[in-house]
């Protein structure tokens, strides 16, 4: 098992919101701590109500970040400020919307001495929902038929080729099953208003859905791979329970996807097995999923491996995972003090262990 006991560095992790649509930051941090990491954890948040802020023993310091939509300059300025206050060695970004910024800012981050291990711009673009069908079909990897919609009227044309029910998906997030044209139009308008154009119409394939968390080495190999089947699915379609499966054909399919892209860094593949047993690639998420602790739990601490890779270490393929390991998500109330909310809201930062660190110095 990978150990980070001797690593006296600072690791920044984003996405600290838990709750009904949890982000991956908290499980990533828990996996780092589980690997014995005793250095500093810095949490990056976009909102003062991200619940992970209020968990003790998670992040030593919290900084509010400007939304990625405000642009690279303000993002970099903020990172520079944080780095001057508290040297950052590694960042593990966990949100889709911020990954492009971290990719574009690689050079500037290097100048600041900040390391990441994430995908390239080309890889990020090829896995975009709007390009998935076109690219992977040419790579002999099956993807459900997909049509990009730029107006509600285009649904009529799209359904000449794809039968209902279909998925209507937002460009970045959210997906709904539409059983008829009325529902398709309704979801199109909702998703357009929320995430902009294009809205994606995708063939719905009936079958067993699997999710795979992978750490790619950037040369076409998987340093770690853990497939799971969701056992508990919320009304928002989020997996709140799952079990590790041992399916060689699924693993082979996932490896083919990673090899095709020479994927670098963490990702999650969403794959469906149809009734004839054929696999179809639904989505590639360019970061760890919120269920990444299952990887740690079944023998592959992928977040810990990511830190070592970001620091330039060579690591061997992670040990084989244990099938049958289960996760069930559990939510509970955090009792905190209003002063913490005040601190993060007014100052945009929260230094939790400063005194302790000063004592150590």
């Amino acid at each position: 098992m990978l150990q980070l006991d001797d690593l006296q560095i600072s690791i920044a992790v984003s996405g600290l919101k838990t709750g009904d649509n949890p982000q991956p930051g908290i499980p990533v941090i828990r996996s780092l701590r589980a690997a014995g990491f005793k250095g500093k954890i810095i949490g990056f948040v976009y909102d003062a109500m991200e619940s992970g802020i209020y968990l003790e023993d998670i992040a030593d310091e919290i900084y509010q970040m400007p939304y990625p939509s405000t642009g690279a300059e303000s993002f970099l300025t903020r990172l520079g400020y944080i780095n001057s206050r508290s040297k950052i060695d590694v960042i593990i970004p966990t949100l889709d919307s911020e990954i492009p910024l971290y990719i574009r800012l690689q050079k500037e981050l290097q100048e600041l001495g900040i390391h990441t291990f994430i995908c390239t711009e080309k890889q990020f673009n090829l896995r975009d929902k709007s390009k998935l069908f076109q690219y992977f079909t040419s790579e002999d990897i099956t993807v459900p038929k997909t049509v990009l919609l730029n107006s509600v009227a285009e649904i009529n044309k799209a359904i000449q080729d794809i039968e209902f029910p279909v998925f209507i998906k937002g460009h970045l997030y959210e997906a709904y099953k539409a059983n008829n044209i009325i529902e398709a139009q309704k979801y199109f308008l909702e998703l357009q208003a929320k995430w902009g154009l294009p809205v994606i119409l995708q063939e719905l394939i009936e079958g067993d859905e699997f999710n795979v968390v992978i750490l790619g080495d950037g040369k076409g190999n998987c340093l770690g791979m853990v497939p799971q089947r969701k056992l508990v699915i919320t009304d928002k379609g989020k997996g709140f329970g799952g079990v590790v499966v041992n399916n060689p054909a699924l693993e082979k399919f996932a490896q083919k996807v990673i090899k095709s892209l020479s994927w670098r860094g963490p990702c999650e593949l969403e794959i469906i097995k149809d009734k004839e047993g054929a696999f179809h690639l639904l989505e590639i998420n360019p970061r760890f999923p919120a269920w990444v602790r299952l990887a740690e739990g079944c023998g592959q601490n992928q977040p810990a491996a990511t830190v070592l890779l970001a620091l330039g270490n060579q690591i061997e393929e992670l040990p084989p995972f244990k099938p049958g390991v289960l996760f069930i998500r559990h939510s509970e109330d955090i009792i905190s003090n209003i002063n913490l909310l005040g601190e993060i809201s007014v100052n945009g930062e929260l230094i939790r262990k400063q005194k302790k660190q000063e004592e150590i110095k």
């Binding site: 067993d208 699997f210 079990v243 499966v245 041992n246 399916n247 099938p323 049958g324």
Partner: protein, 82 residues
């Protein structure tokens, strides 16, 4: 009969059955567990009927009928193939 898929099942002594390939789990009663274990150890249908009539108070005809029903369920779940 192809029992390749059946062989991969993890069968708990309490009758909890886990398919590690698909992540699906099932529960079987005492008789179902008995049959599954026999099938996994490569016993033929005829031999299972003999075992059932020895183990339970059941005629060979009824045992065969119940076994056929159970096997049809296994087939429907793609756990065995004819």
């Amino acid at each position: 009969m192809n029992t390749e898929q059946l062989m991969t099942l993890a069968v708990n002594k309490n009758g909890f059955v886990f398919d590690p390939e698909n992540g699906i789990s099932y529960t079987v009663n005492e008789t179902g567990l008995f049959i599954l274990q026999k099938l996994q150890s490569g016993v033929t249908k005829e031999e299972i009927i003999d075992f059932l009539t020895e183990e339970y108070e059941v005629t060979a005809k009824n045992a065969e009928s119940d076994l056929d029903h159970f096997m049809a369920m296994l087939k429907a779940l793609n756990l065995i193939e004819e």
